[in-house]
């Protein structure tokens, strides 16, 4: 039995964020499906793993974590010498640039992109009506963020450096859902962003995450 367990749902963006990291690092893990439809994520058993009642929860032996970015960050550090190098090594200044772009994903990209994903992907999927005003407001906001990315990606092949890192990986789950909606136009109109999106979504580890839908 693998020491590492991920409790989550294959559709959940946050679950996918952790899975992407584990596949990039080529680490064995056990996936424990959580049935969100029956409210299993609010059960006492699950709340003991994540008191906020959200997927995923993460275990490595006696260590229990939650929050996908903290879990992925732990994996990237603990298994630094395995699989893809997802961190920047070097001086504190060089490492700080990775932290910066991880924060940009969390505080600039995540909110507007999540709102668009919810409105344009999940709501139709669940038979709910899309709120066009919310879409417009958040696409506009997301466009401004992507304008900054467009400039950044003329200076650097990936967000934090010339190599793929956690900062890029954290974006994959929302980007994948956006690509399945008309909002993909926000990428297509920005050539460097478009190239970056195509590059990172084509990574074999990410394909393995998506293939979990078929299990």
């Amino acid at each position: 039995m693998a020491a590492i367990k991920v409790h989550g749902s294959p559709l959940s963006t946050a679950t996918r964020r952790v899975l992407a990291c584990l596949y990039e690092k080529e680490i064995d893990f056990q996936f424990v499906p959580i049935n969100m439809a029956t409210g299993e994520h609010k059960s006492d058993n699950f709340l003991a793993l994540n008191p906020f009642g959200q997927v995923p929860a993460f275990e490595d032996g006696d260590l229990t974590l939650f929050e996908s970015r903290a879990s992925a960050n732990y994996v990237a550090h603990e298994f630094a010498d395995k699989g893809t190098q997802l961190l920047i090594s070097g001086s504190n200044k060089e490492v700080a640039v990775l932290e910066l772009w991880k924060e940009v994903e969390a505080h600039q990209f995540n909110t507007p992109s999540s709102k668009v994903v919810w409105e344009l992907f999940f709501k139709p999927f669940l038979g709910m009506a899309t709120d066009a005003a919310v879409v417009e407001e958040n696409e506009t906001q997301l466009g401004k963020v992507l304008d900054v990315y467009e400039t950044r990606l003329t200076q650097s092949k990936y967000l934090a450096s010339d190599n793929f890192t956690l900062a890029d990986l954290y974006h994959l789950p929302n980007i994948q859902y956006l690509l399945a909606t008309p909002a993909k136009k926000l990428f297509e109109s920005r050539p460097h962003v478009d190239a970056w999106v195509k590059e990172i979504t084509a990574r074999p580890a990410w394909s393995k995450v998506l293939a979990m839908m078929n299990q």
Partner: protein, 219 residues
């Protein structure tokens, strides 16, 4: 060469970094940014932070933005002193600190920020009326988050363990402002959260920062 922090003392995000700098006894210069004149949206500042928000930090040839990335950099740079806010020497402790830093980012901040914005920013900076519906919705969310905190703080003195860390520090400035509003009751009516707040806000480093958090004060 000294660290330069561009921002203003009354800003929650700038003050978050100030608290961290003071914990480490770091030398720095606070360079004011004239928000009223829109300095943060001018090319010179956008060259430091393309998102046009304070704070930004310069340390020699390094320019950073995002307050939590800045505080993390400060904690790493001054690692090895008696101050240890990231627990970097212990990977499991460090992972738990990161977890509760993410909780502040992803659970706490989105719930408290609209209360701060509606109660303090809207009336003071825009002369408008607070949107009570937004406040009520956010207060309900914040209450649920703080319920989790109250339970966690029954098994550890601070959020990530029995040690003060950046996970606690990142809460200081928003809670300080919350306590100036009627919604401070959300803290006060949860005994362990209240005790934790009284502890962390009495730290000498924060006592240097608090006098600058003047939004909402009557002149």
């Amino acid at each position: 060469m000294t660290i330069k922090l561009y921002g203003v003392a009354m800003s929650t995000c700038t003050a978050k970094v100030l608290a961290c700098l003071h914990e480490y006894g770091a030398e720095f210069e606070l360079v004011p940014v004239n928000l009223q004149n829109g300095e943060h949206k001018q090319p010179a500042f956008l060259a430091k932070n393309p998102f046009g928000q304070i704070p930004a930090l310069e340390d020699g040839d390094l320019t950073l933005f995002e307050s939590r990335a800045i505080s993390t950099y400060v904690a790493e740079k001054f690692k090895g002193s008696s101050c240890d806010l990231l627990r970097s020497q212990n990977p499991k402790e460090a992972a738990v600190v990161k977890t509760w830093m993410e909780v502040e980012s992803q659970q706490f901040s989105p719930a408290i920020s609209p209360i701060f914005y509606q109660s303090i920013i809207v009336p003071i900076l825009y002369g408008g009326s607070p949107n009570q519906a937004i406040i009520d919705e956010s207060a309900a969310k914040l209450g649920k988050v703080l319920d989790v905190y109250d339970k966690k703080l029954s098994s550890s003195k601070y959020l990530a363990g029995d040690f003060y860390s950046l996970a606690d520090l990142h809460h200081l400035t928003y809670i300080y402002y919350l306590m100036k509003t009627p919604y401070g009751k959300l803290i006060n009516e949860r005994p362990r959260v209240k005790a934790w707040w009284e502890d962390i806000s009495s730290r000498p480093a924060f006592k240097k920062v608090a006098p600058g958090l003047t939004l909402g004060d009557k002149n």
